[in-house]
């Protein structure tokens, strides 16, 4: 018994080590790709620092300071060494250490994407389940329609239209930005997640205001994740519902609800989780455009700005964060896989 457990934990350890190794490899790849992009980009990074009107000698001096006159391999080694030390340098654009910037912008995006995915899950899973159970009925068609909208409509366009209708015309929601300026200094920053911080501080008015700003972009992102989640839920569930064990459960006389939610969905949950994890990553990505439309001071906006201004330190930092989140989500969904599916739990 204990020997088995020992062996099992040994196997888990090996899997973990393998995971860590692959994450490390992925990171090195990320670094290489960002470096490569930074170097081939036809933008002079010095320009970003000194501006267009600086005299030539200033330009030259800064170029030397940045080590840009050294051979590429030397630059790469320096770059990797710094990145490994957790030193992403200072952003040219914000004049702050990149790490500090990230600490500010990442929570904003996380808040947005998390609310989006919660909406996506909360509506998408039941919708997908309904569509699978009542296959071919109106609810199935409706789910399909929602999915198609989510897949076919450009988010930036829908965002603008939604802003126009719900903010400008109807005035139901707050406008662009995370919070009204009036509340700018009322909420102390703890987690960076405005809703949590406001609730923690008991600033309910600010909470309400932040919520009113969040609702629209989150709902929009939610719609897009809803599309893929409901569609995947449907097809996974349909596949599960045709399995023999469902027949066995029906033969036991269980109710449809129990069969669907306890048996079939539980099995579908395993791949579904991967879908959700991926679509969460997708939301982080979708936020690039959403944040532009909603003037949301998050990672997406930060990344586009830095890219366009050749702020390579910031680009590296932000890309690494996004990459890490993707890798982390992958690991997490792997772990969930192991946790949800007893067959993989033993490693057999």
């Amino acid at each position: 018994m204990s020997g088995g457990r020992l062996r099992r934990s040994g196997r888990a350890l090996r899997a973990l080590a393998g995971g860590a190794l692959s994450v490390a490899a992925t990171f090195l790849g990320l670094l290489a790709v960002t470096f490569f992009i930074g170097r081939v980009m036809p933008v002079d990074p010095v320009l970003a620092i000194v501006g267009d009107r600086a005299p030539e000698h200033v330009v030259e001096r800064v170029r030397e300071e940045l080590g840009l006159n050294q051979p590429l391999p030397v630059q790469f080694v320096r770059y990797v060494r710094q990145a490994l030390r957790g030193d992403f340098g200072t952003s040219v654009l914000t004049a702050n250490p990149v790490l500090e910037d990230l600490r500010r912008v990442v929570p904003a995006t996380v808040e947005l994407a998390t609310c989006g995915i919660l909406i996506g899950i909360g509506l998408g899973v039941p919708l997908g389940v309904a569509a699978a159970v009542w296959q071919g009925r109106w609810i199935d068609q409706a789910a399909r329609l929602v999915g198609l909208i989510g897949y076919s409509v450009p988010i930036f366009w829908l965002g603008l239209m939604a802003l126009l209708v719900f903010y400008a015309r109807l005035g139901w929601v707050g406008g662009p930005g995370r919070i009204d300026v009036a509340y700018e200094y009322t909420v102390p920053t703890l987690s960076g997640l405005l809703l949590l911080d406001a609730a923690w501080a008991g600033e309910w008015e600010a909470f309400g205001n932040a919520l009113s700003h969040l609702v629209l972009p989150a709902a929009l992102l939610g719609l897009f994740s809803l599309a893929s989640i409901s569609r995947m839920t449907r097809s996974l569930l349909i596949a599960e519902l045709s399995q023999e064990y469902v027949l066995a459960a029906r033969a036991k006389g269980l109710s449809t609800a129990r069969i669907v939610w306890r048996h079939a969905l539980r099995n579908a949950a395993v791949p579904l989780l991967t879908v959700i994890a991926l679509s969460y990553g997708g939301l982080l990505e979708g936020s690039v455009l959403t944040e532009t439309v909603f003037a949301w001071p998050g990672l997406g906006l930060y990344l586009t700005n830095s890219l366009q201004n050749a702020d390579m330190n910031a680009v590296l930092g932000a890309t690494l964060v996004v990459g890490t989140v993707f890798v982390g989500l992958n690991l997490l969904s792997d772990a969930a896989y192991r946790w949800l599916d007893p067959r993989t739990r033993a490693g057999a």
């Binding site: 990320l30 992009i37 399909r144 603008l160 990553g281 990505e285 690039v288 455009l289 996004v322």
Partner: protein
């Protein structure tokens, strides 16, 4: 296996009988019959047909654009025809350079089609090859290829495309390249997964026993089997590709002016979205319609090509 007790069918015309013959007499007839069966499975779905119609219409419009467009797509008159609302003369109105939006849309279909086709032709084979080779070879080849795939997957697609376009310089060709570079990994994943399930299949063992080389096995036997799911995925991705291209255009990194690229048109129209809504709405609707078409088509293809429905022998 075909139903013996099927009721309610009249006599078939000769060509249908030929196509539906259970005993095809030649390779050609067998292939045609197979295609016909797939078509029938496909044609049973009205939504899929609608999708096909949209895509076919896109194709037709792209072919005929110069003949059916009422005006030039690139010349307008800043002085007199700027930002006119839809009217009899300009069905969809005019844009900020005084150009007829309908004409631009019609010509833009060529770009959209070109983007979609190029990406599909670039990304799908890469993904297919990488995935099948990784899945079949296993071992370190698999590990290496999948690491690279994961690396590309670890970047959000739009961001990576952005970075590549930033690196290569904007323009439609580079946008296509960037999108292709970023869209093959999912295909590789799918192809690999499929290959893994096929790896132990007896029919492949039989071919191996006959002495087939690994290259032959992968190219002639494994790949054709992965192809349907990749095709389905590509079709479903078309919408995403169009949207990504539009997103790049929207951020000013896609097609360059005055090319009537739909995404760039939306981006341009965004300035006027509050008052001259048609400038952005028309290309936006075109994008929606075409991605809708590809989505419906992809759904239909999936249902038609689904191995589970390929033949009743599959599941016992």
């Amino acid at each position: 296996m075909s139903g013996d007790a099927i009721h309610g069918r009249g006599p078939l015309p000769r060509w249908r009988a030929w196509l539906e013959s259970a005993r095809p007499a030649s390779r050609r007839q067998a292939a045609a019959g197979r295609a016909w069966a797939a078509w029938q499975a496909f044609a049973r779905q009205p939504a899929a047909l609608a999708g096909l119609a949209i895509v076919a219409a896109l194709l037709g419009v792209a072919l005929l654009a110069p003949w059916i467009a009422p005006y030039s797509p690139i010349d307008g008159d800043l002085g007199t025809t700027r930002l006119l609302p839809p009217s009899a003369a300009h069905w969809l109105g005019t844009d900020d350079q005084g150009r007829d939006i309908l004409s631009r849309l019609l010509h833009g279909s060529r770009i959209t089609l070109q983007v979609v086709l190029l990406v599909a032709l670039l990304a799908a084979p890469i993904g297919l090859l990488v995935g099948t080779v990784a899945g079949w070879a296993g071992g370190w080849v698999d590990t290496l290829l999948m690491r690279v795939t994961d690396l590309f997957l670890a970047f959000p697609r739009l961001v990576l495309a952005l970075a590549f376009v930033a690196a290569l310089g904007p323009g439609i060709t580079n946008a296509v390249l960037a999108i292709a570079i970023t869209s093959w990994p999912p295909y590789a994943r799918i192809a690999r997964a499929e290959t893994l399930t096929l790896r132990g299949a007896d029919f492949l063992a039989a071919v191996r026993l006959a002495g087939a080389s690994p290259a032959r096995l992968v190219l002639r036997h494994v790949m054709p089997l992965c192809l349907p799911s990749v095709i389905v995925r590509v079709t479903l991705d078309m919408a995403g590709i169009i949207l990504t291209a539009a997103g790049l255009g929207f951020l000013g990194l896609g097609a360059q002016p005055p090319m009537p690229e739909w995404g760039a048109m939306v981006a341009n129209g965004r300035q006027y979205v509050l008052d001259q809504w048609w400038v952005a709405a028309a290309p936006g609707a075109a994008i929606c319609l075409v991605s809708l078409g590809f989505n419906l088509l992809g759904d239909g293809l999936r249902d038609a090509l689904d191995p589970k429905q390929a033949g009743p022998g599959g599941g016992r």
